[in-house]
Subunit: 434 residues, 2 copies
């Protein structure tokens, strides 16, 4: 892998308090950022591969803090319906048919889509997670893999044991781009006893917990009915909030919940598209940010989105809370972009290694081409990224110093094969007669 | 102009009750659609230019039912602020500096952006409207131009007379792609006497009225305070609802308003991005559609969006009303796509000539490339268009049988020159010291 020197671009380091650097340079050496700053303070060029970022903005790779990657197979399979019908009549029956190769090709299709859209890291929760790992290793993307632990499955206990073994094995293999987690699906699908065991496993392995939390109003009501406290209070009662945690959704929260999330430094993956498409509700994101909670962004799975475009997610985060609060100053563009990068990384417990362009961090870098008519005239690049750009404006995607996508082409895998194989898998899995 | 024969695509005619045609053919002859249907029922090929739409969906061009096109110059100029500050401290002072060439290049930049994103027709309301006409004629896009009539301007009466002359001249010139309107800005900026004169002018010239209506809660309250009735009731009192009308926004409506809009067949341009970004509120779109009101979609101007991507607008329309109503079956994908095509055309009074692919209508046609990873695996193309596609997936744009954009390149103008000139204009207009 060649070292890289990215020149002539406008650099957004996304570090707290950063200002855009009009003539910036970003260098990577052995997969780490060695410099990100003004051109006139950079070291002399050596024998690095030079990338000309003229007309581009250079920023950290986008971090998708919550998805179910292989659900690309279900894109467009079941839209515009009630949550229970969607799950029980469509998604779960199809997932019963999943074979390892389905998860592999579905994950790889999602990895191609994300790399094209500048997403360099994803936090996954899905069945047969070793296949998502294989897809991540093959495509060159960074991943936080985990299986789905569901208490109602007959082999729930076995799956939990396997999940802990999975984490341990990945830790031994020590892939620099793979950061495993343990993922109990949700409070309403995992009994307390199981959650406690997950907590023990997470502490022993030193990995965070990835969980769905307070996505729907009924989930919260059920917790009050069963436990006399909110789901977040109940997790605290169980001691689980003292373990690093990424909680997806967090739509229906009390003030006490928000205080607890801030105090316990729980990371949040806000998923605005999914919350809108499934009519889950409006997450109190301005209130969470005000309380000091770290709120990142996630796409959720492709059956409830239906894409993996993190710029679209940041766009929606900026728009949704304006109209919901009635205040057009809510979640300004720079906050939305921070959520898609630095805050998502922090929420995943990876804030020390990714999420900003700072020397010593992993060289996860994207170039966004700002030359198209819809991004003209040139002005604040952060405004254009959030309010006008699409994932397809990403020109180059770099993960740990490796150029994995350039000019709309993923360089690490054969995209035509990925599409063909994923299409075959999708046809079989969703063929009701199959 | 060669006649066209588009083969091998999946055709969505968007006519009421249509079904996708898997192997469809669309033919244009002398700028009109001569056939749209299954390949096996099409006439034998003649000497038409053949367009291979393999891997593409073929559908009517998208219709942007409300914009202020030259405001592309203000893209990213003033975001994330309160409406009055935005207007009074930023937009209006900049607009005071506009020269004809600014409006021309700003409109042309917007036309390039729209043609790339599959928008074949736009309904404009902006100063110096002959420049938007020039930009439309030069770029090949279809336009509904109108100036902005503001009662508080010292030369308001003169501007109204000029607007009527403008309409009459365009009617004499009889450009087949130019459909002028008369545009009083809004009820709160135009006194009754002026509105009545606009109405007379519209009736005499036989053109529709284009107006902002019920965009903010305070506008509605002011109408009750001043007139003792809602803005819509007041327009009815003035007799203006008996004239064909395109009303933009319609966010704050009573049940009586909705009944009146349906009874009087007022066309609506719903602008979800603008309503979200400016925190205007949630338009009662499901209720309007239920009442039989024709609701199209508009991007609004680039200072409150900040793009002109009608697929994004349709996407947001599908998502926003789900979360607002709490019902995920609200505004399904096929309704959102109808809003961006057939219903927008109807709302503009152009339902007889554009908005669907039917023999005899103008050949305004787009091809959307569905081969990218984010639009795979292949399934319901309408779902993919609404929930996963971007404007940049549009491969070819045809207006009245002329190919005006192909493979991301506008063929009618020099895009590099347009961007350079628009950037110069924007710099001068928004330079506070200038």
């Amino acid at each position: 892998m060649a070292d890289l020197r990215i020149i002539n671009g406008t650099v957004l380091t996304m570090a707290p308090g950063y200002e855009p650097i009009a003539d910036g340079v970003v260098c990577s050496r052995e997969g780490l950022i060695s410099y990100a700053g003004p051109a006139d303070q950079a070291s002399e060029p050596g024998d690095e591969q030079v990338i000309d970022a003229s007309g581009c903005v250079v920023l950290p790779g986008l971090v998708n803090a919550h998805t179910h990657l292989a659900m690309t197979l279900f894109r467009g399979y079941a839209d515009d319906m009630m949550l229970q019908e969607w799950l029980e009549d469509w998604i779960w029956p199809a997932e019963m048919r999943l074979r390892p190769e389905d998860v592999y090709w579905g994950s790889l299709l999602g990895a191609c889509e994300m790399l094209r859209a500048g997403v360099t890291c994803f936090n996954d929760m899905y069945h047969i997670p070793e296949q998502a790992v294989a897809a991540a290793l093959d495509s060159g993307i960074r991943a936080c893999p985990s299986g789905v632990l569901l208490g109602f499955l007959p082999n729930a206990e076995q799956l939990l044991e396997e999940a802990i073994v999975f984490v341990r094995q990945l830790q031994q293999q020590n892939h620099s781009r793979i950061h495993p987690m343990l993922a109990p699906h949700a409070l309403y699908t995992c009994p307390d006893e199981m959650l406690l065991k997950v907590g023990e496993g997470a502490v022993e392995a030193g990995v965070p917990i990835h969980i769905h939390l307070c996505e729907t109003a009924s989930e919260v009501q059920d917790s009050y009915d069963e436990h006399g406290e909110s789901p977040i209070e109940h997790l605290n009662t169980l001691g689980l909030l003292d373990i690093p945690m990424l909680a997806a959704h967090c739509v229906h929260l009390s003030e006490a919940d928000i205080t607890l999330l801030a105090e316990k430094q729980v990371g949040i993956a806000h998923c605005p598209t999914s919350n809108m498409k499934l009519a889950s509700g409006f997450a109190p994101v301005p209130e969470l940010l005000e309380a000091g909670v770290v709120v990142g962004l996630g796409t959720d799975g492709c059956a409830s989105n239906n894409n993996l475009d993190m710029l679209a997610e940041a766009h929606l985060a900026a728009l949704l809370h304006k109209v919901h609060s009635g205040d057009p100053t809510t979640i300004p563009a720079h906050t939305a972009l921070a959520m898609a990068t630095r805050l998502s990384a922090q929420a995943l417990g990876l804030g020390d290694i990714i999420g900003t362009l700072e020397a010593g961090k992993r060289a996860d870098i994207i170039l966004v081409d700002m030359s198209s008519p819809h991004l003209q005239p040139p002005r604040d690049p952060v405004s254009h990224l959030i309010y006008a750009a699409h994932g397809s404006d990403v020109k180059t995607t770099i993960v740990e110093g490796q150029i994995v996508m350039n000019d709309g082409e993923v360089l690490t895998v054969d995209e035509a094969e990925v599409i063909a194989r994923a299409t075959q898998c999708a046809a079989r899995v969703t063929d009701i007669a199959g």
